[in-house]
């Protein structure tokens, strides 16, 4: 079967418009391009806290639905969405711990979305950690600088993931 497919595979060169143009001279030199890109990231940082307030509120609202006894289908996907948003930009914005905690929460929520029995404590402890991680004295810290917090969240996520994997 595989051999049949290999025999009829067509292999051909492709030069995309992107490659043609990107290789031409005349672009922004690499060092300058990177300086400008880092400057663009810095330029959006002042609005990050306000954005984070909104995302946190949406996450808290979603978890509140869980606490009110709603089934996972009515809140887990939404909670995961906002958690992913925070994870994806936290480190870039200088909030490394926030990304770490949000990533751990995403793992828990992935498992809940996949159908493992919902343990709300595993979610709420992450919410508390997110609140902590955005405090000025914590935001620039790495997980390695807070080993107890990091290993605690890790073990919570691992426990859920094991159930997820086994189940």
């Amino acid at each position: 079967m595989a051999d049949d497919q290999n025999q009829i595979a067509r292999i051909f060169p492709v030069e995309t418009r992107f490659q043609k143009i990107a290789q031409q001279p005349g672009g922004v030199p690499r060092d300058q391009a990177l300086r400008q890109a880092f400057a663009a990231v810095e330029a959006v940082k002042p609005g990050f806290d306000a954005w984070l307030d909104g995302e946190m509120q949406c996450l808290v609202d979603a978890v509140a639905r869980a606490q009110a006894g709603k089934p996972a289908a009515e809140w887990a996907e939404t909670a995961n969405l906002y958690s992913r948003h925070m994870r994806d930009v936290g480190t870039t914005m200088g909030y490394e711990l926030l990304s770490f905690v949000a990533n751990s929460l995403c793992e828990v929520l992935d498992a809940i979305e996949a159908g493992i029995p919902c343990n709300l404590e595993s979610v709420t402890c992450h919410l508390d950690a997110l609140v902590l991680a955005r405090q000025p004295e914590y935001r620039a810290l790495s997980p390695e600088q807070l080993p107890e917090l990091a290993s605690g969240l890790r073990s919570v996520a691992d426990r859920v993931s094991v159930v997820h994997t086994d189940g």
Partner: protein, 186 residues
């Protein structure tokens, strides 16, 4: 030796991500690199709509892009024979860089996976790699996309795993610098 620069002027880059804030960040980085036009969309439906109405040179999309993920969007683009964007470079952004995730992106036809959180340096280097590295395309019943083996230099007997692979000497001009691990990014 200094690292190469790329020219992104006159190129159109489509950024597809469900998060407006994240998209804004990527948009800012790309503009900093000198890209003249960056388009943002929040889901795959809008991405496909944009690609039917105008030229796009590169797609950068989230692995979790609504509604069905970046891999599904990649497959939709690669699968359609009359799609003029069928061979555009596609970068999938993912916070999950486990091997299985990367293989799924590769098997969908993505050129590369770039890790989230994203830094300007990572993004620039991935774009540079795609710009500077020629990769053949494979069209077969269950796959259409960049050659997933990356390195097509044949084996000791002069042919690759596929029966139609060229001898090593003839294929040498299509050899890429790094084999498969290059798909896995920082």
């Amino acid at each position: 030796m200094s690292k190469p620069s790329i020219n992104l002027r006159d190129l159109v880059i489509l950024v597809a991500d469900g998060s407006s804030y994240f998209s804004m960040l990527v948009h800012g980085m790309l503009r900093g690199f000198g890209t003249s036009k960056v388009i943002e969309v929040r889901d795959a439906v809008d991405a496909l709509r944009i690609m039917t109405s105008q030229r796009v040179d590169v797609l950068i999309c989230d692995a979790k892009l609504p509604p069905h993920g970046g891999q599904a969007l990649t497959r939709a683009i690669r699968r359609k024979p009359d799609n003029e964007h069928r061979t555009i470079p596609i970068l999938i952004m993912s916070a999950d860089t486990r091997e299985a995730t990367i293989k799924r992106a590769r098997d969908a036809g993505a050129n590369m996976v770039v890790a989230k959180p994203l830094s300007p340096l990572n993004l620039y280097d991935r774009l540079t790699w795609i710009a500077m590295t020629s990769r053949q395309f494979v069209d077969c019943p269950n796959y259409f996309g960049p050659d997933r083996r990356f390195k097509n230099d044949g084996n000791q007997k002069g042919s690759g795993r596929r029966k139609i692979d060229q001898p090593a000497e003839a294929a040498a001009d299509s050899v890429d610098a790094d084999a498969e691990p290059a798909l896995r990014t920082a």
